[in-house]
């Protein structure tokens, strides 16, 4: 994982000092609310419904145990004892005091963390694949490039007052896309040319929110050396031409759509020709420097077949362990190792919430079982990336005691859910109570396993932080004359073949939602063939059968 040097430390300390001064001037009445707004946002601080919310960056989802313990300390000391894993792999604190935020940022800086540009109209935290570096289908590790982009975008003087927020995601997997690159302002997909050269396929103008759009490819292969100059060209065109008269039309997707992807690509190309080959061209040394932070951990050489056989023997002895293995672990490149997903979705807890005690527990699990590191996921869970198969049983028992072993990863109850109207001042409706009602209704694990992989995504408003457009089942909170209703979408899909869901029909009251979901599942179960997953059945039979059942007049 990346380690700061004196330069990084100096820059982040200057940032903390800057924000400390700004906060003091604001509290002294020297900065207006309006002036302080973008300054606090670019340091991660929102003013929410009940209190400020501080969003801390977790660059491309990587955390070490020291950082986890610091987050636990912050939750204990400055907050109400818990925090939240967001759908962009970040950590959010819901109850900090404004005057204390500079101190929190100073504490984060001690462990090489920050909240820089985690909100505001600027380049946000770079997100990536939670299985980067270990995935069996990985072509190139995306993390060195994420770090290079993180540094380039941090405190970028030209792009701090963009028309709107700007999100970049990078994936290095060949056939899958766990970073949702098709629904980002810029999506970068690592590729190898025929000669073996590393580069990127560049997508622009994807996004969810009010106007969901799948990104357009504007360059099939960008050699890696030109990464920064090409990004700079895209951002410069957007900064100059993106709409600023209407915040709902200010994202780059609207510009790309208005100009047409081809015309936009030409503009970028013309600008890039001016920038190409300059000092921002990445050197081999820099790429190598970034890469050496993401080397393989010190794996033991294990007999893959033997460890797997031993594991299966353990699994045969415990149905509960076997279920957990099946749902909450993933394959690994290194023989004898597995990746483990700790579920932050037990019933009764807001999806993605984690307490200070649990943060310390995760740190301990990481130190004991996974080289002291974890990853956050955009599905709001935690991954221990490098666990020996022989240690899985012990890990499972500890994870169970700490509340992380709900064996529901990928199932209906492993839902993505934004904080919604309980916390967020943008939300039209609450989302956490809907999530909880669904978890309570569908608490039969055998039934959930029989249903298989289903992505249920819940957003409390059209800003779509809960990614409802790309859930197999998406739920969107809407406001009708001051009352909360929920619209259902079907058939969305994240990943390599990103698809946007279709609206089922008129919205429902909150109390109806578990029954609506039940009807959707019934239609699936009745129509599926063999092991056909939910989303495939939907694609085969279409929206109508679901619609008929849900809106059928009761007799």
């Amino acid at each position: 994982m990346y380690v700061y040097d004196d330069f990084d430390r100096q820059i982040i300390q200057q940032r903390v000092a800057q924000f400390r001064g700004q906060t003091q001037r604001y509290l002294a009445g020297e900065l207006t609310d309006q002036e302080f707004l973008p300054l606090r946002l670019q340091n991660g601080l929102y003013i929410q419904r009940l209190a400020p919310m501080l969003r801390v960056n977790v660059p491309y989802g990587m955390l070490n145990s020291t950082q986890l313990r610091k987050l636990a300390h912050i939750a204990r000391f400055y907050d109400k004892g818990y925090c939240h894993v967001s759908t962009r792999q970040n950590i959010q604190f819901n109850w900090p005091e404004l005057a204390e935020v500079p101190n929190i940022l100073a504490e984060l800086a001690e462990v090489e963390m920050h909240a820089t540009q985690s909100s505001g109209n600027c380049i946000r935290n770079i997100t990536s694949d939670q299985f980067a570096g270990i995935a069996e289908d990985e072509l190139v590790d995306p993390r060195p490039y994420c770090e290079i982009i993180r540094q380039w975008s941090s405190f970028h003087p030209e792009f701090a007052f963009l028309p709107r927020k700007f999100k970049i995601a990078v994936t290095g997997a060949e056939d899958s896309d766990r970073a949702a690159t098709q629904v980002h302002d810029i999506g970068l997909q690592l590729r190898r040319s025929e000669t073996g050269e590393i580069g990127f396929k560049v997508l622009v103008g994807g996004g969810l929110g009010r106007t969901p759009v799948i990104g357009s490819a504007i360059r099939e292969f960008l050699p890696q050396a030109h990464l920064l100059s090409y990004l700079e060209a895209i951002l410069r065109i957007y900064n100059q031409l993106g709409r600023r008269d209407n915040k709902y039309k200010a994202r780059i997707k609207i510009l790309v759509r208005a100009m047409g992807a081809e015309a936009f690509a030409e503009k970028v190309e013309a600008e890039w020709q001016q920038l190409k080959g300059g000092h921002s061209t990445l050197t081999d040394e820099e790429i190598e420097r970034a890469r050496h932070f993401f080397t393989l951990p010190d794996y033991e050489h294990l007999d893959g077949a033997r460890t797997e056989a031993e594991l299966q023997a353990q699994a045969a002895g415990s149905k509960a362990f076997s279920r957990w293995l099946q749902r909450n672990t993933r394959g690994h490149r290194q023989p004898g190792y597995a990746a483990v997903v700790l579920s932050l979705k037990p019933t009764g807890v807001a999806p993605g919430d984690v307490t200070e005690v649990q943060l310390d527990n995760i740190a301990e699990l990481a130190d004991t079982y996974s080289f002291g590191e974890v990853r956050t996921t955009h599905e709001q869970n935690i991954v221990l990336a490098d666990v020996k198969k022989s240690a899985l049983f012990a890990l499972w028992q500890q994870a169970k005691a700490a509340g992380f072993a709900t064996p529901n990863i990928g199932t209906l109850t492993d839902m993505i859910c934004c904080p919604g109207g309980d916390f967020c001042s943008l939300a039209n409706a609450k989302s956490i109570p809907v999530a909880e009602a669904i978890q309570r209704r569908f608490d039969d694990m055998d039934y959930l396993y029989d249903l298989g992989d289903i992505d249920l995504n819940i957003s409390g408003c059209m800003n779509a932080c809960g990614h409802h457009h790309v859930g197999h089942i998406g739920i969107l909170g809407v406001d009708k004359k001051g009352e909360e209703f929920y619209q259902v979408q079907l058939g969305g899909n994240a990943g390599a073949n990103t698809t946007l869901g279709r609206v089922l029909g008129p919205s429902f009251g909150r109390e109806e939602m578990p029954a609506v979901i039940q009807k959707l599942l019934d239609v699936y179960v009745e129509n599926r063939s063999d092991d056909e997953p939910f989303v495939d059945t939907y694609q085969r039979i279409g929206l109508e059968p679901f619609k008929e059942r849900v809106y059928a007049k009761s007799h």
Partner: protein, 168 residues
């Protein structure tokens, strides 16, 4: 005399700024006979008569104007200015960089209009060396914000080498 921040110090300002005329009036508007910064449209409409007085003439670009409209001509002026309609409008940051980096403008590059002291460091990095605030503020105190950062990751007009080329 009004003051501004210039080259890292508070200085007095003997330039006046000519407001943008109504649509179609750029050719007719009278340019006062003193040090004056005229809108791009006025310069374009009155190039002939104004050509001779480069010493007392600057041009300002609004957010809708692009540095390309001045192009190589930029280098012939003593002073260029970029107007910020609100401090949230970041187009002027790109305009400044283009004037400096693409069109080799070496004279005074002045920010005018609505911006805040907390933007000074980034503005300086984009090539501005003079700052004339629309709102009266404590300029002496604001000087400190010019150097909120003294080390940077990415290239700017003040430091053309990104950090990765200087990291040893």
């Amino acid at each position: 005399m009004p003051s501004l921040i210039k080259d890292g110090a508070v200085a007095s300002d003997d330039w006046c700024v000519l407001e943008k005329p109504e649509e179609g009036q750029a050719a007719a508007v009278a340019v006062p006979d003193q040090r004056v910064i005229v809108p791009l449209a006025v310069w374009q409409a009155q190039r002939e008569p104004l050509q001779a007085r480069r010493q007392t003439l600057g041009v300002w670009l609004g957010p809708e104007d692009s540095a390309d409209q001045l192009g190589a001509e930029a280098g012939e002026f003593e002073l260029l200015a970029v107007h910020f309609p609100t401090f949230m409008d970041g187009r002027g940051f790109s305009t400044a960089r283009l004037l400096r980096e693409r069109y080799a403008f070496n004279g005074e590059l002045r920010a005018i209009g609505h911006f805040i002291r907390d933007q000074l460091c980034y503005m300086r990095r984009c090539g501005f060396n003079a700052f004339s605030f629309a709102e009266p503020i404590d300029l002496q105190a604001a000087l400190a914000s010019l150097d909120d950062f003294t080390e940077y990751y990415q290239a700017g007009t003040d430091q053309p080498l990104p950090l990765f080329r200087r990291r040893a």
